[in-house]
């Protein structure tokens, strides 16, 4: 989002400024990671960014888990001329919802992604070629295990908090169940303990669009001039609808036309309505930055995620951590409706954990946690939540 007053990254006191993409390579053979699908993978390069300063006690670190198509670039700009800052720049920075003047913030690209962490576009050490479709099947648990290795590498024994929305929220739940002693708090936004069958259905159509694109070539398209851009763009268009709401589409576009004030009665015109044009634009922009094999892999990881399937009833799996929980849902989110958040809350109450729950009123559907106008409300809650967590720890 472009703000009214443009600051350069160096002068904006509310920005983390210029940031550097960092990376580390772990899981060198013979210490490969054995994935949930039983295949092993290594070495694994992890791309990440950090903001703020890790204190001497190393107890002020917050790990951000990004969503399906996000990346490690949360805030600030990598180069002064970058048009856009990181994906959560309005929420992460000095004095912001996650305050980088107090906390050391880390975000890493997910395993299987295409933004620097080992994924289908990386070269397989065995063949010297991109993994492509042969990249081993992975799960949310595998993603989290890789991130835990990064946190260990950074010398952080216990995170002050793990926070994430959507697929990021699933990772937060996995952190809590898998590494109960490694976190002091967990913030789960617009997420749930599993993806609904309706969500799987939308993912299925997206994957179908990629598979049926003739340029997909069974996932072996890296050396080719043309990539499966139509399939990937279509997958994004479908998914994007699930991130919006009836209300937000109505507000933003209504039935307004894109090119003229009159209907053309021409079937060939694909972008007559503004909403059509918008979806096409989203699809087009997406293929510039995302890889089709990664999309297949990560949507599948999302489908497979079921916290209770993996760790047993939540009232038991989440009872093992002393972490404080903050669960937030949005009124118009139909991909991860409030009922999903309530299920987590109910289990946490059953487990007698410290839990705070809020359903925020927003027209922006699932995407609300990323929309700048919705962030002040999230700030009101997340900021004191971390402050209290940090202070109560310091008291002990």
């Amino acid at each position: 989002m472009v703000t009214d007053i443009e600051h350069t990254p160096e002068t904006d006191p509310r920005s983390v400024g210029l940031v550097e993409k960092q990376s580390v390579t772990l899981f060198h053979p013979p210490h490969e990671l054995t994935l949930e699908g039983d295949k092993s993978l290594g070495p694994i390069t992890i791309a990440y960014e950090t903001y703020g300063q890790l204190n001497d006690a190393k107890d002020n670190a917050i790990f951000i888990c990004h969503a399906l198509t996000g990346d490690a670039h949360v805030a600030g700009r990598r180069r002064p001329e970058d048009r856009k800052p990181g994906w959560w720049d309005a929420f992460v920075g000095p004095g912001k919802g996650i305050d980088t003047s107090k906390y050391f913030v880390v975000c890493a690209n997910v395993l299987g992604g295409c933004q620097g962490t080992t994924g289908p576009t990386s070269l397989s050490p065995a063949t010297g070629e991109p993994y492509g479709i042969n990249f081993p099947f992975l799960t949310i648990a595998d993603i989290v295990r890789v991130h835990k290795a990064l946190v260990d590498y950074l010398g952080i024994e216990r995170l002050l908090g793990v926070v994430g929305g959507s697929l990021g929220g699933m990772q937060v739940l996995e952190w809590a169940a898998r590494y109960p002693d490694s976190i002091r708090s967990a913030v789960i936004l617009a997420s749930g303990p599993r993806l609904s069958p309706q969500g799987i259905a939308f993912n299925a159509v997206g994957r179908r669009a990629i598979f049926t694109d003739p340029r997909f070539r069974d996932g072996d398209y890296y050396g080719q001039e043309d990539k499966p851009q139509f399939g990937l763009a279509l997958a994004r268009m479908i998914a994007h609808i699930t991130y919006l709401s009836e209300k937000s589409i109505e507000m933003k576009f209504g039935r307004r036309l894109q090119h003229s004030n009159e209907l053309t009665y021409d079937l060939q015109r694909e972008t007559e309505f503004q909403i059509e044009s918008y979806l096409h634009y989203q699809g087009k922009r997406f293929v510039e930055r995302f890889d089709a094999n990664s999309y297949l892999l990560l949507t599948r990881a999302m489908d497979y995620f079921d916290l209770e399937e993996a760790h047993g009833p939540m009232r038991e799996s989440l009872a093992r951590t002393d972490a404080r929980f903050l669960v937030v849902s949005y009124t118009t989110d139909w991909l991860f409706p409030t009922s999903q958040s309530r299920e987590i809350v109910s289990a946490l109450l059953d487990a007698r954990r410290d839990v705070t729950f809020l359903e925020l009123d927003s027209p922006h559907g699932h995407d609300a946690f990323l929309i700048e106008s919705e962030l002040p409300m999230l700030h009101d809650v997340v900021s004191p939540f971390f402050d209290v967590t940090y202070a109560s720890h310091a008291r002990h």
């Binding site: 309530r342 809350v345 109450l349 705070t356 729950f357 809020l358 359903e359 009101d380 402050d387």
Partner: protein
């Protein structure tokens, strides 16, 4: 704005808090329904080592709870508390709120599902000042403890101590304790309480518990 929603003026708030705290054993699990800014729960947590949970609908009050470090759920008491597992709490506090929910009996049922005991503070519309205003002036009453004009009152029900006892009987709740609040004091055995008390604290439980 917040003050009008749930709470009486300050001195009475403090008195009510003290009174409620005196009824709660150390180390209990306590839920406060309509917990406002979390002041009482924070005291229970810090001073009585209780583990606490607030329920509050108002966004500003909710944020105040988070800022105090009081865990809190945003929920509408009228719609029910179905996400809260049965028997999760030793005590449920329900202070100056019963007269504001649409179906008091259903809410009390829910409260005694999630908690072993309910501490219910209700205003007594049988207080002599209220009676006098109705009889002498022929108007809806406005008093220190009921400071609202009829058209802006959050109270949707009007009850007296007698009415509350009837409700308890009807819901098959056992009144473990009844403490009329007269002036600035809670009185164990009061003379003409339904005339003299502006509010009362009831401790309820399910018979056989």
């Amino acid at each position: 704005m917040c003050a009008k929603r749930l709470h009486m003026p300050d001195p009475l708030d403090v008195l009510t808090d003290e009174l409620i705290m005196s009824q709660i054993e150390r180390g209990s699990r306590v839920i406060d329904l309509g917990c406002g800014d979390g002041r009482l729960l924070n005291r229970l947590k810090v001073e009585h080592d209780c583990s606490v949970l607030g329920v509050e609908l108002d966004y500003k009050q909710f944020v105040a709870c988070v800022t105090r470090g009081v865990p809190v759920l945003q929920a509408n008491l009228n719609k029910g508390l179905e996400d809260i597992p049965s028997g999760s709490f030793d005590f449920a506090v329900f202070s100056q709120t019963l007269q504001q929910v649409y179906r008091p009996l259903a809410v009390l049922e829910e409260i005694l599902r999630i908690a072993r005991r309910a501490l219910v503070v209700v205003p007594n519309f049988g207080h002599w000042k209220v009676r006098l205003q109705v009889v002498m002036q022929g108007r809806a009453p406005v008093t220190d403890s009921l400071p609202y004009e009829w058209f802006e009152s959050p109270n949707v029900h009007f009850l007296t101590m007698r009415d509350f006892r009837d409700l308890a009987m009807r819901g098959n709740f056992r009144i473990v304790n009844e403490l009329p609040i007269i002036g600035n004091r809670a009185v164990g055995q009061a003379w003409l309480p339904n005339l003299r008390a502006h509010s009362a604290l009831y401790v309820l439980e399910r018979p056989g518990d």
